[in-house]
Subunit: 252 residues, 2 copies
């Protein structure tokens, strides 16, 4: 089983869009996938047609109480794709766990106790480098950093890589970090420049697949569907399927 | 003096772009403006050509030590525009102040002790509803919520308005909240639908000015300049100047 976190403290760079559509594309390639929503905004849940405010239990209860991950899972959102949802109550987890020891391992323990089996666990995280993102990193072997083509996005990358190294040094747990270019609009003059910078930070750990700017990805989210179901022939669907195939090829 | 926070927990909706370019446009209209960067990413500082990692003191020291706001201010970034910068160390403020009483009023106290005088203070905040955003709200009379035209952005608005009401009830301090449509691309089929929804949430507290999608705003940020200096005739400059004029008209 591979556990992959989607992380970046920069807001709006395509974390949730990547978490939903990579998960759905891997499911289409016959991998059994669990998508864990670890963002109090609950957008991965919302984007798969769940109403976060209607949840009776979700990731908050898993992290702060003794609730099993199995007990909060919504099965077969699409064939081969399950979801562990979240809502705004998750923002209370950080203060609630402030004085608890090993608070960064709560998610790892929950995943280790999972009764169901999966090929992939994909974790969507919030736009910050706090306890929730630390929990995601601690529970993952790999991380994907979506980078939108902007100067602000570039700036935080060195810090992000530093944080991952801190987690590795403190816990002896290595996370392989990969960069994914998102919202790429090839007409933008400086996109090539930014892509070059991204490759400088991540070297061979940059996906060859680039996710192009595609309004159908936005529309799919508003219909509560992954792009694989909403419009399988859209540019966005083609790109996320190519990403899923690149991820699967790494299995070897 | 008017203190206005730019807030929204949704990432990447144009908070920093609005904070920088509204400040610079108000400065062009001969208002003396202080821009306070309250986001650990330090993008308001970066977008005005400061290197957050080179800072010796900034908003972290103001919130967690007894440093005066006057002592961290960079004067005349542009005529009439000063900046109080921030960097990643600001993310340590929340844990450092966890057990301190009235931690949400640190910024308010710092502004009240300011020796310099301004017509406007504009505060950029991070994509979360934690202590930093509470400090911004507590210190402000008004707040602007940039809303990008997407389904995910709409979802968090009700929660955001609820939080502002909580602050008002707990502290007896009212904040007038205004919505600003950003990154508007009129070719997008569903933009009109989303605009209608935004107006439903905010009613007459929606700016008539809409900020159109304009790649020059991105380019300006990468040159460390506000749009007023980088390309005063660009769509982005015209829109932010129209917004500044609408804000000034409210002064009456
Ligand atoms: N490739 C793309 N083309 C067009 N729009 C996109 C693309 N990827 C994401 N979007 C849109 O951009 C916005 C931001 O994306 P998303 O919400 O996935 O980012 P995020 O990093 O998860 O944001 P947050 O930091 O708030 O969690 C959304 O409205 C989404 O629909
Ligand atoms: N009107 C616009 N037209 C085109 N690009 C824009 C516009 N407004 C903002 N952008 C770009 O979109 C990206 C997100 O904007 P910005 O960083 O200002 O959002 P933010 O809400 O401050 O993000 P965060 O949540 O990370 O603080 C940036 O690359 C910025 O340059
Ligand atoms: Mg997200
Ligand atoms: Mg910002």
């Amino acid at each position: 089983m591979r556990t992959i976190s989607i992380i970046n403290q920069k807001g709006g760079c395509g974390k949730t869009t990547t978490a939903i559509n990579l998960s759905a594309s891997l499911a289409k390639l016959n991998r059994r996938v669990l998508l864990i929503d670890l963002d109090p905004q609950g957008h991965a849940s919302l984007g798969l047609n769940l109403k976060p405010e209607d949840l009776t239990k979700g990731m908050t209860e898993v992290l702060t109480q003794a609730t099993c991950l199995d007990d909060v899972i919504y099965e077969s959102i699409c064939p081969n794709l399950d979801l562990a949802p979240a809502n705004i109550t998750l923002s209370s987890a950080e203060p609630l766990l402030a004085s608890v020891s090993q608070k960064e391992q709560r998610l790892l323990s929950a995943i280790e106790a999972l009764r169901r089996s999966y090929h992939y666990i994909i974790i969507d995280s919030p736009p910050s480098l706090g306890m929730l993102t630390f929990n995601a990193l601690r529970a993952s072997d790999e991380a994907i950093v979506p980078v939108e083509m902007s100067f602000f996005s570039l700036h935080g990358l060195a810090k992000l890589i530093e944080i991952v190294d801190v987690v590795a040094r403190h816990t002896g747990h290595d996370v392989a970090v990969w960069a994914l270019a998102t919202m790429v609009n090839s007409r933008m003059r400086f996109a090539q420049e930014i892509l070059g910078e991204v490759q400088r930070h991540f070297m061979d750990r940059t996906f060859k697949t680039m996710i192009r700017n595609n309004v159908r990805l936005r529309e799919a989210a508003s219909h509560g569907l992954p792009i694989t179901e909403f419009d399988p022939h859209a540019k966005g669907a083609v790109d996320y399927m190519a990403l899923a195939q690149e991820v699967v090829l790494q299995e070897a």
